[in-house]
Subunit: 303 residues, 2 copies
């Protein structure tokens, strides 16, 4: 199960009625946060979740509207009692920026481990999540992320009984290990069902559309992707500022065959993003123009 | 005239219903900001004032809850079109912290001039304000500030006429300069009324009470002072954490003979600060337990 909350949906600057774009996901009780602009910790508090189990932060890039909230959040996580390390991922330049911001969080009770990616790397994220990254195209280095929660194959007790496998060995087989006993031996495949689809989420912001982004998001259950401009008329501005229109965002979702699309990172000039929903929906029906606090629980779909 | 807005009243961390403690004052169209925690720019926007004429920022100290909002605010002020310099004042260590935070605001269209004070210094602030500072007592260097808007002495036209001063010289005399003409000469004192009281505001936070703070605030029209704890029972905590209770705050106001007291910088655990108003009011009647957006216009009281 993956719980997802879109903490904010704004780009460039925080507004009284719109937090900056940020995505929080929880898996097996541990949190991974994507981007942390000014005010993200307040939006997180509004979502009603505790701070202590924040274990990883993935930054798309180091523009202030995506990272300025880091020191305040780190203080609040410390106040919540965390002492375990937090992993920070981001593109080239992230370590310098994090170090700069840490001048106002000089004595945290946990370790902050910063890793810079060029795009293409994979990493383990909290709660058994597998992360991957690709480079986007923006004014400075930017990363898009995908997380996968694999699902283990089902253990088939009837099959194990037929093969005479002692019950004491079942758990080992379920974990994917082979087993031997007095009367025989067995490999996991003999008592496990077929491969099962896991759960997956992709987070893409502050980039022009790229084939690599479609590849990254292929088949995800949920794609959270920027759509800075609602109107098709702002396509030239999207090209110039290296963002996307809703139509472009939906085109990525369609081409990647995702389950659902949430659009986020609206220009401050876009006062009513929902008014442009049709520009996305005509391209990809399962599009949602996001709002602060939009949440969803992704659950394994079949037994 | 001095316009004052208490942008936020929180200490330690920003809450969904309470911005971090920050005071904005406007004099002759120019802004001076006191402290800038995470979210201050949003509170400023809620107050409905434009950003372009921010000309000075006075930091009490460099704890994150008083300074983390700086880079975001500087971006927003830049977006509002400012190109003129901004002066930044703060205690020792401010320049390092500001430089750290500027890693996410590396290319501003205006100059940021940082001056560190030890306490006791004076400075010119925007809109003909005169600023002064004293050191407080906290975990790290902290400054309290006072601003004075002097009022010129009234020009007495009847007296000038009696003395035969040509009208062409009146303006010069009003500015405080001596004047000569064919038939005589005159000093300003001969045609100016008595000294007149100006307007003044003091801003004190994150410190234990000190005699120096009483001296700083003596006779100000408005004292904005921290009261982290409402209950007298939390006096030991106030001592330990180097803050004040409402009663201590009001005692400074009373001893300094201020016109009005606004209490701010409430502990996040203080859910209903107003419930402790009596602890201040019994010591100093003109006490107000502050709230986000509390505002006041100080005007010269007599002709």
């Amino acid at each position: 199960m993956i719980e997802v909350v879109l903490l904010g949906t704004g780009g460039m600057l925080p507004l009284p009625e719109r937090w900056l774009s940020s995505l929080l996901i929880r898996v097996n009780g541990a949190f991974t946060l994507f981007d942390c602009g000014e005010g993200t910790q307040i939006a997180w508090r509004e979502a009603g979740w505790s701070f202590r189990r924040l274990a990883a932060i993935c930054f798309s890039h180091t523009h202030a509207d995506h990272i300025a909230g880091l020191p305040g959040l780190l203080h609040t996580v410390a106040n919540a009692g965390r002492i375990e390390p937090i992993d920070v991922y981001g593109p080239a330049g992230t370590a310098d920026v994090v170090n700069g911001l840490l001048t106002i969080a000089p004595a945290l009770p946990y370790e902050l481990r910063v890793t810079e990616f060029a795009g293409g790397e994979r990493m383990k994220l909290p709660g058994e999540l597998l992360g991957s990254s690709v480079a986007g195209q923006h004014e400075l280095p930017v990363l898009a992320y995908r997380v996968d929660l694999p699902r283990s194959r089902a253990f088939l007790p009837e099959r194990a009984r037929q093969l005479g496998v002692p019950i004491a060995l079942w758990q080992r087989l379920q974990r994917g290990e082979s087993a031997e006993w007095a009367d025989g031996k067995i490999t996991p495949s003999q008592v496990l069902g077929p491969e099962r689809k896991g759960l997956s989420v992709a987070y893409v912001t502050d980039t022009r559309p790229l084939p690599e982004l479609v590849a990254l998001a292929t088949g995800v259950d949920l794609l959270v992707c920027e759509g800075t401009y609602g109107s098709d008329d702002e396509f030239p501005k999207a090209v110039r500022n290296q963002h996307m229109t809703f139509r472009e965002t939906a085109t990525i979702a369609r081409d990647a065959g995702v389950g659902r699309l949430w659009i986020t990172h609206f220009s401050p000039a876009l006062l009513d993003p929902g008014a442009f929903a049709a520009n996305a929906e005509t391209v990809f029906a399962a599009s949602t123009v996001g709002w602060d606090g939009l949440s969803m629980t992704l659950a394994f779909s079949e037994r």
